[in-house]
């Protein structure tokens, strides 16, 4: 087990290098540079050239690439042009909100997906099953930004239950302790809902199929013969083996979550990684673009690894040496 994890971690290094190189090539191939995006008509071409020189953008691409790679190898991601701060500082500030948002979305995804799937599997092809399957199929196709608009319209503009944007209220400085937490949670609900609902549809669809699969297996028949009540049969005996593939599904859904958070964070002005990456790309802030994609890729690769490890933890059969 330990050796497998170690080997996977070692394989991570060339993979991250490949991702970083690909990003670098894409950024270099793009027309325009940071100096061109500064919106000031009085800026003379000479000044723009000076700005380029200051950030080392006039050097040959290969030289830029090698010096950047060397710095990254020592843990230095460079300095953001836009924020005039180390990239690591900018990312360290943006990471916690994104983790919070993604975590809440994932939790929502799992809970709602689980409840829908169990409800549907209780009586296959009954009316509950039909409604949930139509619902989850519909949610699968719903664009998240459109859903975000609908939720904002209903819950924030019409009902006024939840705020439509940002992570805190304007007067957050006056709050502390529980009220501050409540404020944060109120702001968290809508974006997490948007991000989680679409995933919940997939989880429900998938989990329902595996639940039905498990229900027809022989150990279920044996358990039923022992007189175990139907409810316990479903929630305990069938659910545990049915949950196994969901672990893998979650590892796979992280890239989607990261992508989705770019859109959702932009809509809800959530100060996280997605917004940083989006703004960095628009401003051609090369060190920040590279840093953000690097972190995103590492997160995705690590989550796939975590899903595999977790799978071995919850499924004793996968632990056996093959």
């Amino acid at each position: 087990m330990k050796r497998i994890v170690l080997r996977r971690l070692l394989a991570l290094v060339p993979l991250v290098w490949l991702v970083a190189t690909l990003t670098f090539v894409v950024v270099q191939a793009a027309p325009g540079s940071y100096a061109d995006t500064i919106d000031n008509p009085r800026l003379s071409p000479e000044t723009r050239a000076q700005i380029s020189a200051r950030y080392g953008l006039d050097r040959p691409p290969l030289e830029q690439y090698l010096s950047w790679l060397g710095a990254v190898a020592t843990g230095d991601l460079g300095t953001s042009f836009m924020y005039r701060q180390p990239v690591s500082t900018v990312l360290a500030r943006a990471l916690p909100p994104t983790i919070l948002l993604a975590g809440a979305a994932l939790l929502f995804d799992l809970v709602l997906g689980l409840v829908l799937a169990v409800m549907a599997a209780r009586r296959p092809y009954g009316w509950v099953d039909r409604i949930t399957s139509v619902l989850s199929l519909g949610l699968y196709g719903v664009p998240s930004f459109w859903l975000a608009g609908l939720l904002i319209l209903v819950f924030s503009l019409l009902l006024g239950w939840f705020p439509a944007s940002h992570m805190h209220s304007v007067d957050v400085a006056r709050l502390s302790g529980l009220p501050r937490l409540a404020d944060l949670l109120r702001h968290l609900v809508l974006p997490a809902l948007c991000l989680g609902l679409v995933g919940a549809a997939g989880t429900a669809r998938y989990l329902r199929a595996t639940l039905l699969d498990v229900r027809s297996s022989r150990f279920m028949l044996a358990a039923r013969a022992r007189g175990i009540p139907e409810k316990r049969l479903l929630w305990v005996h069938a659910l545990r083996p049915a949950l196994l593939p969901v672990v893998t599904l979650f590892g796979l859904s992280l890239p989607i979550l990261v992508s989705g958070s770019v859109v959702i964070e932009t809509i809800f002005s959530w100060p996280g990684m997605g917004q940083v990456a989006y703004n960095a790309a628009r401003a051609r802030d090369i060190p920040l673009i590279l840093g953000a994609t690097l972190i995103g890729a590492v997160a995705v690769i690590l989550s796939n690894l975590a899903a595999d490890v977790l799978y071995a933890v919850v499924d004793p059969r996968a632990r056996r040496p093959s």
């Binding site: 690909l22 699968y140 719903v142 664009p143 930004f145 608009g149 503009l157």
Partner: protein, 313 residues
């Protein structure tokens, strides 16, 4: 028997494609629209169109004839036009309402759908060819080719797709053709893996080995055995991929990174509608429903193809 899901999916796709391809080139009965008198009218509103002698067109849901003058009522102001200035009048219905510039939404909706559908279809084709090419090369090339190609696939897959799309679009500001290329080139990886895996597993199957032992030429084995067996998984994958591309294109357009501003697209229409959500809920509602219908139809087709594949296997 074909599974009903497949039929539902095909029905949805056919309706959307026919409506958008045929209706997308039809002119609006209200011309360019009227920002003063016809802004933000709800769906189904009946309007009167007045063509004036000086070439202008006025559109309003409330027009009265009063003392030899047309009183054209708008939301905020009323314009009086002498009867002599009006060349012709006719009635029209705004089936999907009008936007804040007083434009008829239905033709824009159909034209946007045509653009979105075209881009997603072509993008899926690009992904199909690149994925097929890379997958076949990896499966049939040497060990080194296989390793290099598959590690590249791993690296690109480690990238969150939409993040990559947003990055590339923000950096390159693509036109429609470029957008097709970007969408295609960022979504072929799953297909390459699928093709490689299928070819490798088919190669080990006895009927292909039998054909090889019987001395069948390689080209004939491909056209007779590999390709027919690849068709079903490829079709299923392409259906799902097209759905993803529709969503991706809509997301890019929504963020203002998709096709150039001015051309209608469903994503951009949703973004536009959300700016005036309280005054015009219909503006973002219908494009969103259309995208959902399209993606769900494609998913149904994918599911259905899988069921048919399992039934015949």
């Amino acid at each position: 028997m074909r599974p009903p899901r497949l039929l539902w999916g095909i029905a949805g796709i056919v309706v959307l494609f026919v409506a958008c391809l045929v209706g997308g080139s039809m002119p609006s009965p209200v011309g360019e629209g009227d920002p003063v008198h016809a802004a933000l009218l709800p769906p189904g509103t009946r309007v009167t169109v007045l063509d004036l002698a000086d070439g202008r067109t006025l559109v309003s849901p409330a027009v009265e004839l009063d003392n030899g003058e047309y009183l054209v009522h708008g939301r905020r102001l009323t314009t009086a036009i002498p009867t002599g200035d009006v060349v012709s009048t006719h009635d029209a219905r705004l089936w999907l309402g009008s936007d804040r510039f007083g434009r008829d939404v239905l033709p824009r909706f159909l034209r946007g759908g045509r653009i979105s559908l075209t881009i997603a279809t072509l993008g899926a084709m690009v992904a199909l060819f690149v994925g097929l090419g890379v997958g076949l090369a990896a499966a049939t090339g040497g060990r080194l080719v296989d390793a290099v190609l598959m590690r590249t696939v791993d690296a690109v897959l480690a990238f969150p797709l939409l993040l990559l799309l947003i990055l590339v679009s923000a950096l390159f500001r693509p036109g429609p053709a470029m957008l097709v290329a970007v969408l295609g080139l960022t979504s072929w990886m799953g297909l390459a893996r699928l093709v490689r895996g299928q070819v490798l597993s088919l190669r080990a199957r006895s009927f292909i080995q039998a054909a090889r032992v019987a001395g069948t030429r390689e080209l004939r084995i491909w056209s007779l055995h590999y390709l027919p067996n690849l068709r079903a998984p490829l079709a299923q994958d392409t259906a799902l991929r097209m759905g993803n591309l529709v969503l991706a294109e809509a997301t890019l357009s929504f963020l203002g990174l998709g096709i150039p501003a001015g051309l209608p697209s469903w994503g951009a229409m949703i973004a536009d509608g959300q700016r005036v959500m309280l005054d015009g809920w219909w503006l973002s509602l219908f494009p969103g429903l259309a995208i959902t219908t399209l993606v769900v139809s494609l998913a149904l087709i994918g599911d259905g193809l899988q069921q048919t594949g399992e039934a015949s296997a």
